[in-house]
Symmetry: C2
Subunit: 184 residues, 2 copies
Amino acid sequence: MALEHAILVSLLEQPGSGYELARRFDRSIGRFWTATHQQIYRVLRRMEADGWVAAEEVAQDGRPDKKVYSAAGPGRAALAEWLREPVEPETVRHELAVKIRAAAFDDPAALTALISEVERHRESHAALLARYLHGEQRDFPDLDALDTRQELQHLVLRGGIEFERMNLAWLDDVLATLRRLASG
Amino acid sequence: MALEHAILVSLLEQPGSGYELARRFDRSIGRFWTATHQQIYRVLRRMEADGWVAAEEVAQDGRPDKKVYSAAGPGRAALAEWLREPVEPETVRHELAVKIRAAAFDDPAALTALISEVERHRESHAALLARYLHGEQRDFPDLDALDTRQELQHLVLRGGIEFERMNLAWLDDVLATLRRLASG
DNA sequence: ACAATCATGTAAGCCGTTACATGATTGG
DNA sequence: CCAATCATGTAACGGCTTACATGATTGT
């Protein structure tokens, strides 16, 4: 239940509207925490009611008004408290792994279908890795001159990069194995 | 929503009661799909109503009766159909990553607390890797003599092993970085 | 005696997804 | 003119977690 905390971190890095937050969750934050705009709006209202965030109505010309949220004192305190609590292990849900083991109980044609599926996954992971590497060059051009905040952001990004490299290597392994089984 | 399918795969590999399934989800299957016994019982009842699984009451001496489930024809058909549908990308929820970025907005003491947390995580991932490697030696002593089902099981296990190796390497990176930031 | 294991369940509540709705502006 | 973007929301449903409940047996 860390959506509140992910939102607080994002607002501390940069105040913004619910809409802007939703876009950040689609882009950078979505690397390690996903959320739809409906979730974000609902949680923002609750956080505002609890005094965790402060909202300021901002009139815009040519666009609808927006409510710009920023992290408030009680929100920072809640974040600090949460930081000191242990987190439980992440629950794993790996559909592709279920499919691979399921393929043993289907006819050989299922292996062929699974190969196409895995190829699609491989492509999307390769694209994600490319985006990470591009973002790294753009946001961290000089790795020897980072402040603490950037160091921590880059640390998380490195995790994403290594995760995707591992994924690609494993998916190559999966493809080689499935092709061997499909042809043999 | 692949819990049904994960259960079907498990029952195809070996029929069993809800309780036994829950234990498998705690052990081997939990590597790529988690579920509590409450979820499993509820889904099993629905699957039985839909004819996906067949239940047989088994009386035991000294223990409560149990219902042993096995995958039925419609269940296998549903699994085959699901295998041919594309899966969406997994949603990522990485609490530790949120905490690392949150640490930038707390006092330095938070970094120290986070280091202990990461050390705990490192230990549990190291233990998991050791269990995977041990299980690999036990269940797949001769990698050149595997049937298709075992090949696919080993493929998934290799994914788990590489995932944990990647995790360990990244957590070492995290510890080194946090310690440098905490002392500097 | 006590804890652990076997075996199954109810109930409450939050979380998350999906679909739908509104209404204005900008760019092709 | 149509699609996309900006901006916020309601409603319904189902999934998942947490807490609680029951009751017997085996091992220390």
